[in-house]
């Protein structure tokens, strides 16, 4: 059964003749446990789509269901509660709070839940361990590297153990090696059952997803590029490189999408 269902989503900014359609009638279904990449050029609407999935950007029309909950029928405060319970968000540019330490940043979502100090601490340490940040708990964001900041952002997103992780350009500010490490991290979380939806314009990162949705001019132009399709193509073309390079071919438009 589909976990996230977008039904004829439309998002317009402005009114009348000057209205701009950021999203123009997108339909999709994401299964529980999938790792979906959303790709597209700048201004294609991919971040807007992710924001909608994150219950932060109400569509002009259409509906978005997550786990059978119609997100935008909830009040603003209920959507805040929904984000806290169901979603983990990894923002572009990390968006860490500069005056909180690593562990405090990770524990931010826990500041408003009813749990004892020890339990919150244990949850934060588990998340830190999961992302490989043990030993850096008391450093400030200004004292850690870009890759570590991204890990902190991921840890903060998963500390509450949400079923869905939304990531907006998680490797946008990272070098190749660090990007690879972060993607491996996300891949590992997906292997554990977390549903991940990731916006990226990086072909290398897109290759980690099991399925890629391509957005252009607010419309979904390609969807459901499955890994087995990639592997069949790889076999057919006798390409030996591991699949991250295949993402270049996807972007080039030379791979079948069905």
């Amino acid at each position: 059964m589909s976990y996230i269902i977008g039904n004829n989503l439309v998002k317009k900014y402005g009114e009348g003749e000057i209205a701009v359609s950021a999203i123009d009638g997108i339909n999709f279904e994401i299964e529980e446990g999938e790792f979906v990449g959303i790709m597209g050029e700048s201004g294609s609407g991919k971040s807007t789509l992710l924001g909608m999935m994150g219950a932060m950007n109400a569509p002009t029309s259409g509906s978005l269901m997550v786990d059978d909950i119609d997100i935008y029928s909830l009040s603003q405060e209920q959507r805040a509660d929904f984000r806290r319970e169901f979603l983990g968000f990894v923002f572009q540019s990390f968006h860490l709070v500069s005056y909180l330490t690593v562990v405090e940043n990770i524990m931010l979502p826990l500041a408003i839940i009813k749990a004892g100090k020890k339990k919150k601490r244990a949850m934060a340490e588990a998340a830190m361990h999961q992302v490989g940040l043990s030993g850096k708990a008391h450093r400030l964001p200004s004292q850690i590297s870009g890759g570590e900041k991204e890990r902190v952002a991921v840890a903060r997103a998963i500390v509450n153990e949400p079923p869905v992780l939304l990531a907006d350009e998680p490797t946008g500010n990272l070098d190749t090696k660090t990007s690879h490490d972060v993607m491996e991290l996300l891949h590992g979380l997906n292997d554990e059952g977390m549903t991940i939806v990731m916006v990226t314009h990086s072909p290398d990162c897109a290759g980690y997803a099991r399925r890629i949705m391509r957005v252009a001019d607010g419309k979904l132009v390609d969807d459901n590029v499955k890994l087995r399709s990639l592997k069949r193509w790889q076999k057919k073309e006798k390409i030996k490189e591991p699949f991250p390079r295949q993402s270049q071919a996807i972007v080039a438009g030379s791979l079948p999408t069905g």
């Binding site: 950007n57 805040a80 005056y99 826990l110 500041a111 903060r156």
Partner: protein
């Protein structure tokens, strides 16, 4: 990790801004506390001084009125030919509810005597009570013993008498033991002697013509004292010397109104400082608030963070402001009351009031910034980068 952690950490991170808000509130609170403490102390000082300067309640026999003045004040009437008050009844004044507010009770026996063909008003007084009732008296010579008199300055001049001179009044030989320095009042024209001596001369043993009362009325209305004394002396007419009381109360009331007005303006300025600084702080924290909202903080959580920050700073400002104001009031009192510095008493209710007022001021001034912060759209806030 709690919302309080976020508030405290933010304050520690933005020490300058927090310090600015703290300074604004401390100045406001300390000024208000200083003014109120100073006014209180001055009021006590003024009351103390005014109460030292004579009677403010008169007890006279209930009589038909003839207009007569004493001390330049319209009393409503005294008739020497009518029934006097029994001296023994005067003791009942010490049984009234506000007996502790009676600083002095001075019986008087009044009568007209002849000295060398001059008619002079003679007053028999309790000289012990007169120390409180007439602190402006300065006697050249000595306070009279039995069969001695002191003369008012004008009386001494007119009668051509000086210390150690002898006079005879109604066959009683009396010695002048002293002369009052000029007072500028009716006392300059009188002869004063001990109460017992006057009662003997006028054949009014155990009786008095009137009594003066110095009432300490800081904590009780003068009217209440007058009524209480009237109740225990039904045969007497008890009157407050309204002019003294009214002018005293009016002076204090004007002073207090002025100080409250100044305090209000200063508090308003303090609250504006908080409002403007908090608004600036909220604008700077758009990204941070966007993150909070995006990860699931409700509007109430955001407001709580802002209010907590305001509470911490305001509470601290209240405490610091109280002690600063208290110290300033003490310094000011020392400067402005050279003869009788008095003291600024510690008032628990003023201390608590200062902290509570500072908290309320901080919270009210932060309400709009907190509301604006809570309304930030997370999507817009995060896109702003």
């Amino acid at each position: 990790m709690t919302l309080k952690t976020i508030s405290i950490k933010n304050l520690l991170r933005r020490k300058g801004k927090a310090g600015f808000i703290l300074a604004g509130l401390v100045i406001g609170v300390s000024t208000v506390v200083g003014i109120m403490a100073f006014v209180d102390a001055m009021a006590n000082d003024i009351n103390h001084k005014l109460e030292k300067y004579g009677a403010n309640i008169l007890i006279v026999p209930r009589t038909e009125n003839l207009a007569l003045s004493y001390g330049g004040l319209a009393l409503g009437g005294v008739s020497f030919e009518m029934k006097e008050i029994q001296e023994i009844e005067l003791a009942r004044v010490k049984t009234i509810k506000n007996a502790r507010n009676v600083a002095a009770l001075g019986p008087l026996v009044l009568g007209v005597v002849s000295v060398d063909s001059h008619k002079v008003l003679m007053a028999g007084v309790d000289f012990k009570a007169a120390e409180i009732l007439k602190p402006w008296w300065h006697v050249q010579g000595a306070v009279p013993e039995e069969n001695e008199v002191i003369l008012g300055a004008e009386a001494a001049r007119i009668l051509n008498l000086s210390i150690d001179d002898k006079i005879t009044i109604k066959d009683k030989k009396l010695v002048v033991s002293g002369v009052l320095q000029p007072t500028g009042s009716q006392d300059d024209q009188l002869i004063f002697t001990r109460l017992v001596t006057a009662q003997t001369i006028f054949n009014k043993s155990g009786k008095i013509s009137m009594a003066e009362v110095a009432a300490l009325c800081k904590d009780c209305p003068i009217d209440s004292m007058v009524k209480q004394i009237s109740d225990v002396l039904p045969g007497a007419k008890v009157m407050a010397i309204q002019q003294i009381v009214k002018s005293r109360m009016e002076t204090l009331a004007q002073f207090k109104k002025f100080s409250y007005g100044i305090s209000g303006v200063i508090l308003l300025i303090g609250s504006l400082v908080v409002l403007v600084t908090m608004m600036g702080s909220v604008r700077e924290r758009t990204d941070e608030i966007g993150i909070f909202r995006a990860i699931g903080f409700r509007k109430g959580h955001i407001m709580k963070i802002i209010f907590m920050e305001a509470s911490i700073v305001s509470g601290l400002a209240g405490i610091i402001g109280y002690f600063t104001g208290f110290g300033a009031a003490r310094a000011a009192l020392f400067i402005f009351t050279e003869n009788h510095p008095g003291d600024v008493p510690f008032r628990f209710e003023l201390a608590v009031g200062a902290v509570v007022a500072a908290l309320m001021l901080g919270l009210i001034s932060s309400a709009y910034p907190a509301f604006m912060a809570s309304r930030l759209d997370p999507n817009e806030a995060l896109r702003s980068l």
